[in-house]
Subunit: 599 residues, 2 copies
């Protein structure tokens, strides 16, 4: 099925194909004969999907769209301050080929005009056996995600006729903005303008910028986020030459055009956009390129103001752990204590982005919890994006929260957040069940004493046998076998048929099941609890494993069969108890599911 | 507990209090005597929380920070094109009080310099019994969320000494940029500069812009999103006068300063920021204001490039409905058919924002589903933000998807998305259980015929009684009573004690429970299924209501008691069957929960 986005791009391409204004750049023969009907539109997402319409694999020379990339390399090589001393970041309000040097220092107004771009090219020195230009070509290739090359014909032609740029280079040398050979700088500049790309390359170069400097296909971090910030800022204020204000108002995307007919625009965090169409307007920008990006921004809501996420709370829900108990079966006394004290432990489920605004809402929420809340379980599994600012705020929050013996724990399965936040200081759980169990036992010990988390339970104290008389329990016990398992031992395999009812006297076992190749641990059972009955439902895909040394009393399936023959009345009482116990579990499950499905 | 953000702001305030550069504006006596030690920093979130540090309730005059607001009102009154004919949107590169009129038309370069602001003020006419200035004051008040007033002393003083601005007004009149009385325009401009605000007001005015024009406290949509887009674009490119490029590179936030000592900055979608400190730098901006916003942007990651959300997929998970069955109990044949055909129905759970990038990923995913997938259930309950572009893409997706008899359904509890997407054309469900049940029955009818969704089931065909012999079932049937319920009739109340086992012969019942005051429907039962057993677990908070005319066979609690006395062997078989059936349910629940807990 064709995607509506492809359909949209095809319609846009079709419609703008009718736009016949402008002519290809006439300055050099290599470009004057470009086919004015060539036309491509591409979108590349930050996860590396590329929509391509039209002549997206047709090569053309990158021209001025190289300027931000060489500038970016200069920033990486020398740092912001050193580069700023050579090239300013102010819009000139002039055309691309204006001189625009500060009258006192000779500093070019910005790196998007030719003077600034030549100055930037002069800053790229050879390194590691490669000369300056090889490094310029290399950074372009890494942004594109493939090896690019140079149109020697275009280069020869530019080099032969580029008097004005050659003049600029010498002028920059006279001001010591260029400190070495101005001929080398301007030749490298001519060469960089002659790098061959296609529209798909440009879209991916834009997507690499959108993705904070990480190339979506190769995964390489090509430049730092700080460098990207500067590149996109300068593109936004100076990229579209003398129409910067109108461009920002109407389109609101950092962009750069080249006289080769290319145009690249970037929606930070989301998209790289490119258009190729060689017919140019009087400013030297592609006529269809400008039209297409204007339409895309307006119709797809890409302007930086519209694309801004309305910063909703990062808190998806929060509730006391009594709303979603761990499912560990406990004594009446323990249940009562948790009912009474459970509000002291809160689970806070986060989602969306933890950038400043998201972290702010979490910090605000946790900071304003009443003193009586002594445990906070932060469930970060649904968080999308996190930055350092958020991590630092959260870590500071944790420290403040834990001052008076309160505790924070994190539920995380990916580790991005817990790496910083926990780092050995904070309990970390892969799922909410385990975290809630930990919180429950902390509350039980703190507010009820250790007796509420028993280490050994005798058969008459099992909740599952509550409906039976003491005599009946004693009679059942005679039919049971003792079993012991060591830490890590497998007790029940997935899909095994009913083998009897296991009564845990001491130790803990973990139940897990498999979904899509992932093993999911869903509950832990301890003394006073039973397992094995679920196989009555027909080979349940449940695995039971000892988590420490475990002692059980097993009423085996065979023993139950014998019981049914020998003592139908006791068997009836047993099965009734099993049924009642089962429905107690169904009800508990129901409560949990109801909570999960809320909102 | 004090929030780390408050702590951070207090530390920043403390540290920058040591910055003693600059002096208050000396142009008029009303401002020259401002206390240079006054200092406030405020942050206002788009949900209306305001962090205030320092002298945040001290009044000062708004001065040039009024320019974007009056410009916004002009845009609302006349539209973009009409205003653009009077005031351009290009950075001037000049100081705020430069003349900067186009040499041919006299059009001011932008609305952030005085000439453009006076032109914008001239465009505000009286309306609805209020004169132009009352309307200017009103729009400022609506942005701030409270009634503001004017410092008459500052106004008198500005009016008496503002020769240059008066000259600008007459010059604009000479070019017909101002079309009526230039004195009225410049007087209104002086008055608007004299509007009294405090730092808290400015932060909320910024937050209103961040929030797309909706005031966070009053909830009023003060101006359109299109107007906000233009206001913030012009602030970004022209707001900080001659340092626009450096400001954008380092700070990356639309901002505006005033000689009264105020500074307002906006992080679209997230925050309004304000600083008040009257000592000014040579450009006329607050020294501490500039320093504080630079620090906040760098340390909190607020630059537009850094604050951009890395556009992850909006798809949280997707799975065939066989991974999370509805829980409706069905015949063996129906279960087999669903096991075989269930992959034809997919549930796609979305989260995060559905702006362009999010919608793109959904459209891409659904478009690339194989032909055999004939039902898609879009669960949009966890979606945060949606825009029209996304809605249109999704509606187009739906139309394309449904061309060959495929169907899309939506799971939504808020209605934002389904309003557009469904509008009577597409099934809409409040929860996933109902949606999956609908999908299952559609598959059963389509691939298996109507027999798999039976309307009447006889007792021997009940899954729950499968372990019993025909004779045992017949003996049980003799002990049952017939019951009929009309559509909507309450069959079991929440918390009622065990009253027996209800066997549904025909019709459907809905089970629901209550959580936090919300009734949650969690399953629907039909012919061949039973209910009532859950009360064995002890007064479950479950309500059962007939959804149409329902016929049941009831084996009452009394009848079961009599059975236990009269025929212990049959009672044993019954209880064993109930226990087995219960664990079948426990296992089903487990499967559902395991799916939910995955990832």
């Amino acid at each position: 099925m064709r995607s509506p986005i492809e359909r949209y791009l095809r319609d846009l391409h079709q419609e703008l194909s009718g736009l016949k204004d402008g002519v290809p750049f006439q300055g050099i023969p290599a470009m004057a004969d470009a086919d004015p009907d060539d036309f491509a539109i591409c979108l590349a997402t930050v996860d590396g999907h590329v929509y391509e319409v039209g002549d997206s694999r047709t090569d053309f020379t990158i021209q001025s769209i190289s300027k931000p990339f060489t500038y970016g390399l200069a920033l990486e090589d020398h740092g912001l301050d050193a580069v700023d001393r050579k090239v300013d970041v102010e819009p000139s309000g002039d055309a691309f080929n204006e001189i625009s040097l500060a009258h006192d220092t000779g500093r070019p107004a910005n790196a998007m005009i030719n003077a600034g771009a030549i100055a930037a090219a002069s800053l790229i020195k050879g390194s590691g056996g490669r000369d300056g230009f090889a490094r310029i070509l290399d950074i372009h290739s890494r942004f594109a995600g493939r090896s690019l090359d140079v149109s020697e014909r275009a280069f020869a032609s530019e080099s032969a006729t580029g008097y004005r740029n050659r003049a600029l280079a010498h002028l920059l040398r006279s001001f010591d903005i260029i400190e070495d050979d101005p001929e080398r700088a301007v030749e490298n500049y001519f060469r960089q303008c002659s790098i061959r790309v296609n529209a798909r390359d440009l879209a991916l170069m834009g997507a690499t910028l959108a993705n904070g400097g990480r190339q979506p296909l190769t995964g390489e971090q090509v430049v730092d986020l700080e460098t990207v910030q500067r590149m996109l800022s300068v593109m936004l204020t100076c990229g579209m030459y003398d129409d910067a204000g109108a461009w920002t108002s109407a389109v609101g995307l950092p962009a750069k055009s080249g006289v080769g007919g290319g145009l690249m625009a970037v929606l930070p965090g989301q998209l790289g956009i490119s258009v190729y169409s060689p017919a140019l307007d009087p400013h030297g920008s592609s006529v269809r390129g400008i039209a297409a990006v204007r339409r895309l921004s307006a119709e797809m809501g890409l302007h930086f103001v519209k694309a801004a996420r309305i910063g909703r709370s990062a808190i998806r829900e929060h509730f006391p752990i009594t709303d979603a108990p761990s499912g560990v079966r406990r004594s009446r006394e323990a249940i009562d204590l948790l009912t009474e004290q459970g509000h002291r432990a809160q689970l806070v489920e986060l989602h969306g982005d933890l950038l400043f605004a998201g972290a702010e809402s979490v910090v605000r929420h946790v900071s304003s919890l009443p003193e009586e809340v002594e445990i906070v379980l932060l469930d970060v599994r649904k968080v999308d994006e996190v930055n350092d600012v958020a991590l630092n705020l959260m870590e500071e929050l944790r420290q403040k929260f834990e001052v008076d013996g309160r505790r924070m724990a994190v539920i995380d399965d990916a580790g991005r957040i817990s790496e910083v936040l926990c780092a050995g200081r904070t309990p970390l759980f892969p799922g909410s069940t385990e975290a809630i169990e930990w919180a429950e036992e902390r509350l039980l010990r703190r507010h009820g004493g250790p007796g509420l988390v028993p280490s050994t339970v005798a058969l008459p104290d099992f909740a599952a046998l509550a409906p039976l008389t003491e005599e009946q329990i004693a009679a059942l016990e005679e039919r049971m076998e003792d079993r012991e398992y060591h830490d890590g031992e497998l007790i029940r395999r997935s899909g095994q048929k009913f083998g009897g009812i296991y009564f845990i006297v001491s130790g803990r076992v973990a139940n897990s099941t498999v979904r899509d190749g992932h093993r999911v641990r869903y509950t832990t059972l301890g003394p006073g609890m039973t397992f094995g009955e679920i196989a009555l439902g027909g080979g349940a895909p449940v695995r039971v494993r000892a988590e420490e040394k475990v002692r059980v009393r097993l009423l085996s399936a065979d023993a139950i069969e014998r019981l049914e023959r020998d003592d139908p009345e006791l068997a009836l009482a047993l099965w009734k108890a099993v049924a009642v116990d089962a429905y107690t579990r169904v009800e508990q499950n129901l409560q949990e599911v109801a909570v999960r499905d809320r909102d």
